[in-house]
């Protein structure tokens, strides 16, 4: 039962991305296979240069950069979203795989969460 968690909300402006990330970390903590897919405005979670200290929020970079250490199988970035936001592979956190959001991608997962 491999799980895919889709994040399509931009970081910091609301809490849904953070709570989706918590879901992924929980699955990983219980040794359940889980991947994260970033699409649309959600792609901005993957930027290298985030510094949320001035708005007094916790950065998720550290969690995301260490995602595979925590047991998350894949960090997936949708190519169209990267292009829309002018992001190249060099702008992203380490360990992110670039993919293409479509039915075939989703077909690899038995449980899909889009919170």
């Amino acid at each position: 039962m491999s799980v895919l968690i889709i994040i399509d909300q931009a970081p910091y402006g609301n809490w849904s991305g953070r709570e989706a990330l918590d879901m992924a970390l929980s699955l990983a903590a219980f040794d359940q296979p889980v991947s994260l897919l970033f699409v649309g405005a959600g792609i901005n979670w993957l930027r290298k240069q985030q510094n949320p200290a001035p708005i007094q929020q916790k950065g998720v970079n550290r969690n995301l950069a260490g995602a595979t250490v925590f047991g998350i199988e894949e960090l997936l970035a949708d190519q169209d979203a990267l292009q829309r936001y002018g992001l190249g592979a060099e702008d992203l956190l380490d360990g992110v795989a670039i993919t293409h959001y479509d039915q075939d991608l989703l077909a690899n997962y038995l449980h899909v969460v889009c919170q």
């Binding site: 910091y12 402006g13 930027r47 708005i55 936001y85």
Partner: protein, 89 residues
């Protein structure tokens, strides 16, 4: 009548377009929270004089060129105080 438009929605949000259509040439547009992400989207044309909250830019790792004024909360207050009308989108 000079209007300050405060926009806090990401460019994907339907309110974003609604705001852009409302901004006149003499108006000011202040991007805050997720709206600052629009500054990195290729091909979005933003109307009026554009400003963005520096702390929200920093948080999201968005850098801007000289065409955008990065301001702080005191600047936001000054803009709101000076404007004839303020619309939050």
């Amino acid at each position: 009548m000079m209007t300050l438009h405060i926009l806090n929605k990401s460019p994907e949000h339907p309110r974003f377009r609604l705001c852009l259509e409302a901004v006149g040439d003499a108006d000011q547009l202040l991007l805050i929270e997720n709206a600052v992400l629009a500054l990195s989207v290729e091909g979005i044309k933003l109307p009026g004089r554009i400003m963005a909250l520096a702390s929200d830019l920093d948080a999201r790792g968005v850098s801007v060129d000289g065409s955008v004024d990065a301001i702080h909360y005191d600047g936001m207050v000054a803009l709101a105080a000076a404007a004839d009308r303020v619309i939050s989108w």
